[in-house]
């Protein structure tokens, strides 16, 4: 693999991690707000 491809190969994973983290946080915030509205604990 060329150095550029290797660079992309190394750095693509933190980008995927950041995307997954954003999805998880969005889900958590949405559920926390819903729970607050309904007056029930989130867990």
């Amino acid at each position: 693999m060329s150095p550029i491809l290797l660079t992309i190969y190394v750095l693509i994973w933190p980008v995927i991690v950041a995307g997954t983290l954003a999805v998880i946080v969005r889900g958590f915030v949405k559920e926390a707000l819903e729970a607050k509205e309904e007056g029930v604990p989130i867990i």
Binding site: P3, L6, P14, I16, V17, A18, T20
Partner: protein, 583 residues
């Protein structure tokens, strides 16, 4: 202390502050949700209705543990560019491939708490004991391994000793998990996943630039063998990837921490939760494994020749102080999130499989308060046991690899029991025991290399390849597709297996365990007259701490107090009679 050829990366004050912030934060979170009177079912499964955000975070955090980070770096260093893929991808698929089976298990046992409990409802005591025993063994090993990783990290990066580190980690995890159990475990998992995944997002690019950036791939290329430079390395596949593919379903079935989350998440959210956790785990572990690849290009030699030292060593040597602190929290978060899940898993097995089901099977009503006490005592006992094992410092990960291969014997009997009415308790038990009897001599190289024996073992391994891939396909596409793919996989693999696989004992033994348990379980079940009614499972695995149970227990205690007072009256009158006689 000068372990790394430099002064310790973090001062005693910094480590104490970081640990106080981390464990102080998790204790605060668990106190926010603590109830004076915890519900026994919530203590085990949080009421079976956790949302997507918390459950996806929890599944990701639980599956990422310190050892998986170290092992991925190790794999990148040993096998080159494809190494982290062959560690992280298959570990991630363990989460993905279990979810179709998880949906089926929830369908037949919507209120279950442990997989062993469902096995008890399906078959009886012996299959329950096999599954609960293997779950407990796996969790004790995992707990010990995480304590060891924490102690080693603290000893390496700070002036504190290994045993001081182990005790602090154990006390911290127990402190925030003990009162609210699984609820505390999953809520704190959310904060821990933020810390872990956030740290990976920062640390991997930072490490890349501190080690030289793109130029490193030019200047360091001579440090790699052609196999290490290849994205399709056969070395990496045979030594790292293939044994892991064989273990994909075994680890998922043998691990109560996954089952607990399958029973806890809202049923309609199982699929998105497990797909998100698959991507989160895979990207995190493969990403951190890139540190091993970078270290290989940079020509860094691991301290004491032990590749397990590589990750903390590179972090301490190449990262600035602030990022070393971020790295420290990442590892502490990864080991704590798995350790608290192991404690919650073991407590639920003790509450359900040791106490709850044994009471129900005798026609008695389990007392939820007693269950909670049993759960908390189990957590304390497990922590003390793991502390003892950690102090003994034997190679716990070798044991986990061994147990993981052993779990292969359970996979087909467990999965078949949820779909096929004909599987009997004796078919389950005998198939697992026979598989273990063949697995052990194969695993320890006791099968002679000459004569017909190795050919028979390799023929079983071919069947094992078909079973592994067939079961993976079965979860998603059903029996017909599974038989076609399994058959093709066995035929295609045969030329590569015969006269070759005998040199790879771990992989061969694992495949043989799958094959033997499948053949025996099928042969004993196919002619059985059993027509099991799956509706029975839901009735036998209902919640323990409900209003109906409370009313029944109240009635029971009233009857008991009435019978006690009636007994007292009877004794009093008989005493009176005695008095009369004596008079």
């Amino acid at each position: 202390m000068d372990l790394l050829g430099i002064s310790t990366a973090l001062s005693a004050t910094a480590v104490v502050l970081l640990l106080l912030v981390f464990y102080g934060g998790t204790v605060y979170m668990s106190m926010r949700i603590a109830r004076k009177e915890e519900n026994a079912d919530s203590y085990m499964t949080a009421g079976h209705k956790i949302g997507f955000g918390i459950s996806a975070a929890s599944m990701t955090a639980t599956w990422i543990w310190a050892s998986s980070m170290y092992a991925s770096v190790n794999s990148g260093y040993l096998y080159g560019v494809s190494g982290p893929i062959h560690y992280g991808l298959w570990g991630a698929l363990m989460i993905l491939f279990i979810y179709p089976f998880g949906k089926r298990i929830r369908e037949v046992a919507p209120q279950a708490h442990t997989l062993a409990e469902v096995m008890f409802a399906r078959h009886g005591r012996s299959s329950q004991l096999m599954l609960a025993g293997s779950n407990i063994l796996g969790s004790v090993i995992s707990l010990t391994s995480n304590f060891i990783a924490g102690g080693a990290l603290i000893a390496m990066l700070s002036p504190f000793s290994f045993i001081q580190g182990v005790i602090v980690i154990a006390a911290g995890v127990l402190l925030y998990t003990l009162w609210s159990g699984f609820r505390a475990s999953v809520l704190t998992d959310f904060a821990q996943v933020l810390a872990m995944l956030g740290a990976v997002v920062i640390i991997v690019p930072a490490m890349f630039f501190f080690l030289g950036g793109t130029d490193l791939f030019v200047s360091g290329a001579q440090n790699l063998t052609p196999q290490q430079q290849s994205f399709f390395s056969s070395d990496a596949f045979l030594n790292q990837g293939a044994p892991y593919i064989a273990a994909v379903l075994a680890y998922a079935i043998g691990n109560q921490t996954i089952a607990q989350r399958l029973f806890a998440v809202r049923e309609d959210l199982i699929k998105p939760t497990f797909i998100t956790a698959t991507i989160g785990y895979g990207a995190t572990i493969i990403g951190i494994g890139m540190v091993g690849v970078l270290a290989l290009y940079a020509g860094i030699a691991p301290m004491d020749g032990d590749p397990n030292n590589l990750l903390p060593q590179v972090a301490a040597e190449y990262l600035p102080g602030l990022l070393v602190a971020v790295f420290f929290i990442m590892i502490i978060g990864s080991l704590s999130s798995t350790a608290d899940s192991d404690l919650a898993a073991m407590s639920s097995i003790a509450m359900t499989d040791v106490y709850g089901q044994s009471m129900r099977s005798r026609g008695l009503i389990p007392n939820p308060r007693t269950m909670l006490t049993i759960g908390r005592v189990t957590m304390i006992v497990a922590t003390v046991a793991a502390l003892g094992f950690a102090n003994a410092k034997f190679n716990i990960l070798d044991l986990l690899v061994f147990v993981g291969a052993l779990w292969g014997a359970l996979v087909f009997p467990v999965i078949a029991s949820f779909y096929w009415k004909k599987v009997t308790n004796s078919a389950f038990t005998v198939s697992v025991l026979v598989a273990l009897a063949v697995f052990l001599p194969t695993r320890f190289g006791l099968i002679p290399d000459t004569g017909v024996a190795p050919w028979i073992i390799e023929a079983l391994a071919v069947v094992g390849v078909g079973v592994v891939l067939g079961l993976m396909v079965f979860g998603f596409f059903g029996t017909r597709a599974a038989l076609i793919i399994g058959g093709i996989a066995a035929v295609v693999s045969a030329p590569f297996v015969f006269d070759f696989l005998r040199d790879y004992d771990t992989l061969t033994a694992s495949l043989v365990a799958y094959a033997v348990s499948t053949i025996v379980c099928y042969a004993m079940s196919v002619r059985s007259s059993m027509e099991f009614d799956f509706a029975k499972i839901a009735r036998r695995t209902a919640d323990y701490d409900t209003e109906e149970v409370a009313e029944a227990l109240e009635e029971e205690s009233e009857e008991h107090s009435e019978s006690v007072s009636a007994g007292r009256d009877a004794r009093r009158s008989s005493d009176d009679d005695d008095d009369k006689i004596n008079v």
